[in-house]
Symmetry: C3
Subunit: 366 residues, 3 copies
């Protein structure tokens, strides 16, 4: 009845103790400077509002600097500039550096380190004999691995996961429960795939034959680079004849839909609920806000930022910040506005008539 | 080969027989009044259009009262007011009350009652020895329960479900197949979680280090109150340093995305495809229409109603009904309208010029 | 530890060899005509840009006909018209026909044919003794089948799937890993359901009792016709008292949400991220673009096409192409435009004042 299962997810342990001086040495590339007690023992990170004396916090935005005077945090990370405008005589330790948020992220990672992950094969896992499995791979309960898969060292497949035939999972990648990956898809090293993600389902391709849809086989696959994160319930479709390609370092949030043959450049970040239609090419370092929709067969330049809930209907060829949202208003006012929007052509015509009338009079009067 | 499995889902049985008089007594808090035959045997609920003589139906909207004259339903629930304007001599039984829709819901629940649910532990369930399990819990096939989970009495975990370590599930909660709950998340009593929901995946938090993303560990969890419903394929992310919190009685539809550190007040209802970005605070009794998008770090007051497909880009501090939808039109007309919208600043300038011209003439003429 | 599992997904084999003459005979209904070498051996399909001499490609849009002069494809399928305007002396073989995209789809299906699918019952599958199972059904690992289900011949249930009690799956239907189907739902013949789809979860129905939500039992189910495809992580809710109904030949992409009691007509295509709210009736041959949102209780006529990201707020009674998207712009320009949109009523009033002023002068001057 009761079967011992190892942890279904990695355990974070937050009992490391470290001092400001040690952190600054550890992340020396960030050139942090300790202002105050470099020997203070720290045991974790916390927001300014709730941090204790043995915790480290950070100031992301100088406009919240009032919180720094009130926080109980033992140490606050902030920029040199923000530090410069603090009131004197704050009896507190600071770490200043050019990238306080990055310093904070690394400190948080340090405290949230994982124990060497358990790895074993649960008896309920079904692993094809033809699969090739490296050292230290964890196969949790009910994990199914198809023929000829190649699983890199240290991969963790947590529970209730299905890999189709010929999948490749790079070393150190962690796949959470309930992920399903179709035949022939590849995920690079050090990736994270969250629960419910589906990678490699058929793209939406049909030819219309007098009103009936004829399926076009989707014979490409999905290739995801190294250091990517794929959010919960996100879907990335396989390509029609060639692959859907996600670059390195791409971070994808939950409930995102990426259509067939899309290409996403390195280090692009895609927030929740975004949809990218088929064959669109997203550049490097792009940021797509939540629920942004990108139509198909478009090209989005490197470094473009699209606001949340905006729809991209044409190529964007220049880096920049783009938005298209109907402004929200009280419903009654919106009703009025929407009626005017629907008839903007008439408003334009009225302006033209006024202009013509005045022009005509100018003529008459001269 | 063939393993007997108990029902993978609760069986609804619709063979109770009840009379109008009994229903009115049973739901006495609603002060229903029977007008007609209080002893009519009823066996179920149905819409006005298809109900039979042994079924009970209801009139939700007085503008459909014509349907009441035609329905074959044995009994119709409606408001006193709607009853008052019905034509005379309808040979039918009515139940009038102040909240006919609530009366109907309770009647429907009465007919759709479940048999005492089967509870047993399927041999394929993997339950950690350190989990604490109350009386009458059902563990269906391939359910995986992590270390130190606490499962309340009468909980039903139906099939292919994963609970991470240290999860808490309150008494009577029903979790449908294919739900995945991450480490440390809590769900209150009498809840319902539908298939494919993912609770507690990492929030989308990264610091940007010269174009590369550094992950910020998400060390909070998700805490969901009592009497909540979470829809199919909905995702609720764990918090970054503190929890994402869902109050009591919150009803969440399918495909909803709730970001890290969001707080949702009691008795709020969230329709399908809604997205709520990180750290936003939604008040009590709020209603978010389908596909509404709420940006991050906002505050939405108690009782606010947001229309479907509207994007909230700023705090809403007053209860009310808010909308922002681009009106749909024939594509050719929309093309014209969109071109004008894109150049509204020019239109405004033309109006200003006209105004200036007329003002100038006023000056000239005087 | 290692259990042999048959392929978790069907294997496509692309080693058939066929000539243009044979293809034209095979799809004779399309009346293709070979122009050139009808005996050329072909082994697959590919896009114009990457095709080899033993592959067949097609020209979908005459504006890309320059690619035809450069492609290395052995054979190109195109329309009679597009063929007519090609430059002379292209040393290549063509197949002309009235529906080149359909011809291409069928050729692609021919090359991507599947081996006779393996069918067996994996020892971990849990199949209720009361289920009725036809010939040649495949039950993969961890598949759970509830009481009294009826499974047609040749159905493939790949892995980690749950069917509730009383489900009916028509012959030849293929269900990918991680699909969950609730009690009493029906899927027709020759269907495809992709991973993570949830069919038959409760519709979102609650009565409001002084601010608290009372659940309305959802006692209908979902009935899906023949030849349908349901995308990954798509959700189709069960009806409140009667069924949610999807017609024949309906193609539904990923992440689509279909509410309770919706009806979708035959051969309608629904792109990714679409939401359809409860009780809406979508006609036959409708096309809904990605992320289109259709409010509840509406009726959409046969043959309507809705643009991506457009919200339908009222009935559409005439076939046609409908759009409603706020045009995207540089953020600073959008800010300006949005401010004007929010105050369009004031702009209208200014125009009225100008008109009144000019009318008044006309009176004065006369």
């Amino acid at each position: 009845l009761t079967i011992g299962v190892a942890s279904t997810q990695p355990s974070h342990v937050q009992q490391r103790i470290v001092t400001p001086d040690e952190l600054v040495r550890k992340f020396s590339a960030l050139s942090g400077v300790v202002r105050g007690d470099g020997g203070l023992p720290l045991s974790g990170v916390a927001p300014l509002g709730t941090a204790r004396a043995d915790q480290i916090s950070f100031l992301s935005n100088p406009k919240y600097s009032a919180q720094v005077t009130q926080t109980k945090a033992g140490v606050v990370i902030l920029s040199e500039q923000a530090y410069g405008v603090l009131p004197d005589k704050l009896d507190k330790t600071f770490i200043t550096c050019a990238k306080p948020y990055v310093f904070f992220a690394l400190a948080a990672q340090y405290f949230a380190y994982e124990n060497a992950p358990a790895h074993f094969v649960h008896p309920s896992a079904c692993i094809s004999a033809s699969a090739s499995v490296a050292e230290g791979v964890h196969f949790g309960p009910n994990v199914v691995v198809g023929e000829r898969c190649r699983i890199g060292s240290g991969v963790r497949l947590l529970a209730n996961i299905t890999l189709g035939d010929d999948c490749v999972i790079g070393e150190g990648t962690r796949i959470y429960p309930g992920v399903h990956i179709y035949r022939g898809c590849k995920i690079g090293a050090r990736g994270i795939v969250h629960s419910g993600a589906v990678i490699g389902a058929d793209g939406f391709g049909f030819a219309n034959d007098d009103g009936q849809w004829v399926k076009i086989p989707q014979t490409g696959a999905v290739a995801i680079g190294d250091d990517c994160e794929v959010g919960a319930n996100t879907t990335i479709d396989r390509g029609a004849m060639s692959d859907t390609v996600i670059g390195d370092g791409v971070k994808i949030d939950n409930q995102v839909q990426i259509g067939h043959n899309v290409e996403v450049g390195d280090h692009t970040a895609i927030a929740g609920c975004v949809g990218i239609a088929g064959s669109t090419r997203i550049g490097r370092g792009v940021q797509l806000g939540g629920a942004a929709m990108i139509l198909g067969h478009l090209s989005i330049a490197d470094g473009v930022i699209v606001s949340a809930a905006s729809t991209v209907t044409r190529d964007i060829t220049t880096a920049g910040f783009y938005t298209g949202i109907f402004p929200i208003d009280e419903n009654a006012r919106w009703e009025r506005t929407a009626a005017i929007v629907r008839n903007l052509d008439k408003m334009r015509d009225r302006i033209r008539r006024l202009e013509a009338l005045l022009n005509q009079r100018d003529g008459t009067e001269k």
